[in-house]
Each structure stands twice: as C-alpha cells, then as structure tokens.
Assembly symmetry: C4
C-alpha cells in the first residue's frame, strides 16, 4: 500500500468521521436525519412483526425490510469502527454496544432462531435516537429537566426507599387480612404487588379487597398514596424553581466587576461592594 493511498484513506476516514460522528456539517446532519428515519422505520417494522395478523400476511415483506435495515446498520457499524480514531474505545462504548445489539439479533435468529425475545431486543434500536439528540432543537429544555431530576436525585431515592418499605409492610398486612377470603392475595409478594398498584393509584382491579376490614384498610392506603404523591412533586417543583431563579433573566452585570447579580433588589454588588 503506497503512502499516497494511505494518506488518501486517512483523509477519507477523517471525512467519514466528521459525517458519521458529528452533526456540525451539512453532510453530517443529512446523515443523522436519514439514520433517524431508518431507526424509526425499523422499530415500526419490529412492532408490526409482533402483531400476529400482520405477521401472517406480510411476513416476507417484513423479512425484506428487516434484512435491508440490518444490512444498512451493519455497514454503518463497520464504517464507524473503521473511521473512528480509537476503534476499540468505540466498540466498548455505550453506543458501540447498542449498535452491535441492534444488528446481531437478526443474524442469530437466522442461524439459530430464538422467537420473539430476539426480535424484541431490536427495539433497543430506539435508544440510538439519543445519539442523534445533538440535532434536537429542544436540547436546552431537556437539559433543564435532566438537571432538575439530577438535583432531586437523592431525595427521590429516599422517597422510593420509604415507598418500598411501606409497600412491603402494607402488602403483608393485607395478606394477613385478605388471604383465605380472597383468591387474589395468594402470597405476600403478590400482596406487595397489589400494594404498589394501590399506593400509586394505578388500581388495575385484577386484585381487589373483598373483606370489610380489607376494604377499610385499603381505603386508608389509597388516601395515603393520594397524599404521598405530593412528595416527589414537591421535590421536583422546588428544584426547578431553584434552577429557574439561579438562572434568572433579571440578572444584571455589576458595572465594576462585571459579575452577574441575580438579586432584583441588590443595592450594592455582593462581590466587589461597589454601588450598582
């Protein structure tokens, strides 16, 4: 292989890298949009395949589509490996693994077969959308939400911990009350499942109390759940409020030190003490 060809290749790699991994060039943007469309289309196909009636009629068409998408994604995957500066790093990165998981099932199924478990893995192709998120014009909003959730992360965790303890205890109590009179509460785990269904106000009704005591007790659980929902809401609201105020529009610059002052009513710069 001559030096020229090698140089040519490396430049080609660089070009491809820009197109495939970034979105700041027109080519890159177009590539991402097509990728997005292919991902969505392939996901839709996976869904339709799972519908018996459709699968019966259009099995072949689905197959064709499936193989086309798999082919395209395989090429894309190989190109990504080829043009990325550190192929190994890419392969073992989160998206590298996802990319692989999105193409392997089709091959395995072809060779070994393996029912709808494999088919469904391909739904994970949906996760690839996030990679194209750099396109999205809502980046600011999504960051806002993510930051808000990150900040309330620990409080929410504590909340979940309490909820879990509660559901275990409440479920067990209901098991004691209902089991024997009710075909639904067959075991403590099932009763805990019921407690979650009730406390979160989902209320399938697949399992419901029948004894007066059980109904009274679950009424209490419901009202508790009805009030408890206030906790995560409060946490997130407060955090969002803090973000909002910390990045306030009314922030002005100190004439002396140019630092941003968020307080509407500050008379003196809180950093350098000069009069605003």
């Amino acid at each position: 292989m001559t030096i020229e060809s090698r140089k040519a290749q490396s430049t080609l790699q660089k070009k491809l890298f820009k197109i495939i991994f970034m979105a700041d060039t027109t080519a890159g943007r177009i590539f991402d949009i097509f990728l997005l469309l292919f991902i969505l289309a392939s996901v839709v196909i996976v869904m339709m395949e799972s519908v018996q009636s459709l699968q019966g009629k259009y099995a072949n068409i689905f197959n064709v589509f499936e193989w086309t998408f798999t082919g395209l994604f395989t090429i894309e995957y190989l190109l990504r490996i080829w043009c990325s500066p550190q192929p190994r790093k890419y392969i073992f990165s989160f998206y590298g693994v996802i990319d692989l998981l999105c193409i392997i099932p089709t091959y395995i199924e072809f060779l070994v077969g393996g029912g709808h478990f494999l088919i469904s893995i391909r739904i994970l192709r949906l996760l690839r959308i996030f990679r194209i998120f750099k396109l999205v014009p809502f980046l600011h909003e999504s960051r806002f939400l993510i930051v808000a959730l990150q900040r309330s992360r620990r409080k929410i965790a504590v909340f979940f911990f309490f909820i879990m303890l509660m559901t275990v205890v409440l479920g067990s109590i209901m098991y004691v009350i209902e089991s024997g009179h009710n075909s639904g509460f067959t075991s403590i785990p099932v009763s805990i499942y019921w407690a979650v269904v009730t406390l979160t106000t989902v209320g399938y009704g697949d399992i419901a109390p029948v004894t007066p005591l059980g109904q009274a007790f679950s009424a209490v659980i419901m009202i508790m759940g009805y009030a408890i929902i206030a906790v995560p809401t409060g946490i997130v609201t407060v955090e969002m409020n803090n973000i909002r105020t910390s990045t306030d529009v009314s922030a002005r610059e100190c004439p002396a030190c140019q630092r941003k002052i968020a307080d509407v009513d500050a008379i003196f710069c809180k950093y350098c003490g000069s009069h605003l």
Copy 2:
C-alpha cells in the same frame, strides 16, 4: 338596484356585522347568548340521538330539532358570509370551516346517509362556543392558564418525547416477559398501550401482568410513573409562579430610584424611602 338601496344594504350589512361578529353592543351580546343556547341545545340533541333507547322513542322529535338547528345555523352561516367585509377570508377562516362542518352533515345524511360518524361530527358545534368566549368574564383567568401552558410548551414536549420512548421500550420488555403466559400482551403495540395505561396510573386492568417477573417489573413502572408525574406538575407550577411574579399588574417603578415595586399597597419606596 338603486344607490339608495345599495347604501341601505351596506348599512344593514354593517349593522349585522356588528351584531353577529362582535359583542360590544347589546344586540350583539343578546345574539351571542342565543347562539350559545342553540349550540348547547343542538349538542345535547346529538348526544341524546346516540342513546338507542331515546332514539327509539323520540326519533321524530330529534329530527325536528335537528332540522330546526341546522336551518338556524345555515341562515346564520349565510348571514355571516353576506355581512362580513371579506367573505372569502371568513369562509376559509378556522371558524368559517367549523361553521360549515356544523351544518353540512345533516344535509349529507339526508341525501346520502352515513351512520353515526356524520352524526357525531356535529359535536364539533361545541367548538363554536370558543367564538363566544369574548363574553366570558373568566377571560383573564383563561389567558393566565393559556400563557402558563404556552410557556411550558417546549418542556412539556420534551417530557412527552421521553414518555413515548419509555413506553415503547417498557412495553416491548413487558411483551417479552408476559407474552405466551398472558392472553393480554398479544403484540408490542398492545404492550405499549398497556405501558401507557400503567405509567399514567390510569390502570384499566383490561390487561394486567400475571407472571411474577411481569408483576415485579410493572411495580417498578408504576412507581416510576408515580414519580414522573412530578415533572409536568413542576414545569407548570414554576411557569405559573413566574407569570405571577413577572407580570404583576400592580408593579410600578419608584420615581426616585427606578426600582420595581410589586406591592399593591406601597406608598413609599421600600428601598430609598421616597414617596411613590
């Protein structure tokens, strides 16, 4: 046609325009109130028609009512066209189309027939209520709510996008877990429907997990949904709070120090003490 008559007509048009399209005259207000009553009445009739038992007994009466309302709305529609300065503009305006959609079905049904699809279109008459909204004394409040929702528009959109991705992924996972053991999870789309029903804490129970793993997994989904509801609530609350504080009508500037005073009852600037 003499000039006089033409003038007379044009003046009549102007008068009618004022009455039909505006609400600042007594006549206009009365017209709107009657229109409101007719709309509500016609909607009630459409509803009652859909009830088999009533339809059986009172079909004729309903017919009479239906034709009366259609007649009145037709006349109104023609008058609107006639008296509006730019008839074409009106006809193709949102309300123009709605007004047409509200009378056409009855005629089509009479000529062609077409079952309850046509009948139900007439429910859209309800949308005409919004035109009369200029009457409503709650205009300020509704504007407040609309502004709040508009401001949180983009964040809510992102939230919905995430919810959709989640439901697709969660639904597919549940499909893998439950299908085969559960007659409910027949396909991925149905499982996604279930995921929405569960995540939003609606919980019909028409489809419910039966496998221990499925129940455990859906318990997790429920608690997630229970916490996720905090996000839109937080968004809207924060926005409302901002409107409340930012667009405080009573906010004025201190003549001496130019600082904004939000307090309705302030007589002196709370910062520099000068009289407002």
Copy 3:
C-alpha cells in the same frame, strides 16, 4: 304568666342560647362535644343499617338507637328554635334546614315508609359537624386551605370548563371509533363518562378500548390527562405560596406606624416612609 316567670324564662333562654349556639363557655363546649358524639354515633348507625347482614340481626337495636337519636335531635331542634332570639331566621338558615332534615326522615318513614332513600338522607347529619367546627384546634389550617381554594376558585372553574369541553369532544370521537366494535361505548354520554374516567386517570376498566385505533387514541388521552393534572396543582400551589409569603412569619412592625411589613429586605416602611 307573671313578669317574674317571663323574666326567668328569658334569662333561661339567654343561658340556653349561650350553651347551644356558642362554644366560649364550659357548658357550651361540653354540649358541643356531646352533640358531636351523638352525630357520629347516629351516622354510624345509619351506615350499619344499610348493611343487609347486620340489619337482619340487629334491626330492633338499630331502631331503638335511631329513635333515641331522633328524639334527642328533635329536642335539640325545638330548644334551638325556642332559645334563639330570631327563631324564624334560625329555621330558614342553612343549619336550621339541615337540623330539620336530620330528624324528619325517621318520622316520615314511620308514618309513610320510603326505603333507603329516606334512611340515607340522615347521613346529612354529618354536615352538622361543621357547626361544631368552632371547637376544632385546626381552624387556622382549614382557613388557610379554604382561602387558597377561594383564591384559585376562578382559575379552577376555567380549568373545569375546558376539561368538560375536552371530555365531550374526546368522548364523541371515541364513540365514532369504538362503537360497533365495542360493547362498552353504547352512546356518546357513556363515551363521555369513559373520557372522564380516563382523563382523570381513574380508569375503572368497566369500559376500555378494544380497537387498535381506539387504544392509540386513548393512550394520547391518558398522557394528556397525565400532564393536565399539572394545571390545578400549579394553580393551588402558586396561590398557597402567595398566601404564605403575604402572611409571612418574618413580618415586623414599623416602629412609626405599627403596620406589618412582610418584606424581609425592606429598608423603609412602605406605608409611612420612616426608616425601619
């Protein structure tokens, strides 16, 4: 009747009035507490009467209790009329009517009979509890909540108006989609009922979509309902926040004019302008 006796009577009336209508005397408080107990007891009896099994066994006991309570409440009612300065005003006051409604049913039933409709009216005795509310140590909190709800009254009303329009329109659309394929959506009113059940995330499941289109559409409704719940929450939260800040603990008195200043950062009294 001598003047003495008349005077004696009037003084007795005054005493009784103080005891029965007010709670600032020990006697008054004791009276109220007993009244509270009797009300609760009589309500419990009414509930137990409605339970077939109990009614079968203890019909007589219930009867005795019922008549005792009716007797006591009748005496109380007559005393209230007798000792109130303007009997007529009391009789036609809200509580006067309630008091009458709480005793009449038993008599009517005895004379005419009239099944559980009459029996259940007696549950209204519960409303009498509010009269004794002046006792409750939570008066401040309840006032807080009531004020918050009153302030958000108009906004909530608008919100309800929109919800109603939405449910009517959404319900009708679902009727068009589902009726024919689904035994549940028999008429538009029923579909509207379903729309409310779904939008409020109650989700009984007594009526549930079966067509793919119907399920897709109701998924959208659910997510809407899931986000819409943010609106009343936001409204109430903001109002509560305003009350909280306006009646702030950090409020100090202006040394000059003694008016309460809620602003933490006020430098000059906003009423009289004197330095704080």
Copy 4:
C-alpha cells in the same frame, strides 16, 4: 464472682454496647451491615414461605433458615438486654418491643402453631432497618422530607378530615342512586369504599356505576378528586420551598446592618455595602 471478673465483664459490656447500639466504630459499622443483611434475608424468606409452590418444595430449607435467623436475632436480643446500661428502658423502648416481636412468632408457632398470621408478623423485622438508618448516607435528604411532612402535618390532617367527610357523603348519595340497579353498591360502607377508590383516582373497577345518573355523578366526583389532589401537593411544595429558603445553611448576618444574607458567595452586604 471476683471484682476482676466483674470489672472485666463491665468493660466487655461497654465494648458490646458500643458495637451493638452505635455505629461510630468500625466494629459497630460491620455489625450493623451484617444485621442489615440478616434482616433483609429473613424478610425474603418470610415472603417466599408465603408462596404456596415454593413452600411446597423448600419447606425444610425455609425452616432451617427461619430457625437460624430466629436464633441469631434471639442472641442479639439477649446481648442487647445484657449490655445496655438500663435493660428495662431498652426492653420497653419502641425498638425493644420490635426486636421481641421479631423472634417470638417463630417460637409460638413451634409450640402452638397459628398459620400465616404469625408468619407475617415477622415481616415487622423490616422495621428494624430504620434502627440501622444512622448508617445511611441519605440522612440529610430523609430529614428534609420528614421536616417537610411534619410542617405540613396539620394542614394534611385537615385535608384528610375533609376527604373523609366528603367520601362519606358522596358514598351515601351514590348508594341511594345505584343500590337496587347495581350489585356493587350493597351498603353505605361499601359505597364509601367506592367513593375513596374513585376520589383518589385509584379506580379498581370492582365496583362501578351503571345507571346514567350514577355515571354522571361519579364523573363529577372524579373531576373533583382530580382537582383536590392539588391540595396536598400544594401544601407540601410550599413547605419544602420554605425549608429551602429559611434553613439555608449559608445564611449569615451582615455585621454592619444585621440583615440576613442568604447568598453563599456574597462578600459584601447587598444592602449596606459593608464587608461581611
């Protein structure tokens, strides 16, 4: 018993006390972690025992585990009594009672037997987790939540009181409307149970209105419940917000003007400009 041995013992007691009751030593922390694991394991066993299929196969294994845990907890209990400075105080303390309740059932069942009521009591072992909470790194967050709930305690209580009155009245009304046409609304208590299920938007669907009037009325209840949920949410959110702003750790007083400065990064008082 010689003085030496007595001394030795007392020192041993002190050591043990440090290890068992506190978590500030490495030994203490290790002890707590093991205790945590044993508690969780024993709870899992209790749950699995309640599952018929598992109980059938692994009854013996469960028995062995159960007795091991009971043994260990018994030893722990005795040690706690022995090494605590005031044994009596410990025995009758909350945790002392819990500790006893966690071991007794196994013995009673062995001697007397008593079905899954006794078995389930052992779930209370879960409550022992809270004792080990001093370990948890989320202590700050949980305190935040607890304080928020404590502060809104009274308001929430009033809210619950109103909810209870509402459910009783609404349930009774529904009983009058539905009973006779609906096999679900058998009695007022059951109707109240239904009212709670509906108002809290749980909506099992085990009992659902069938009469048009009943459905209309419950639609109203649902929308009410949908709006009422705003109340606890508002309460908690506001309280959290107050904690957030009031107990800002970094709040200090300006030496010159004594005003509270909440900003962590303030170098100069924003009111009087003097150095902090």
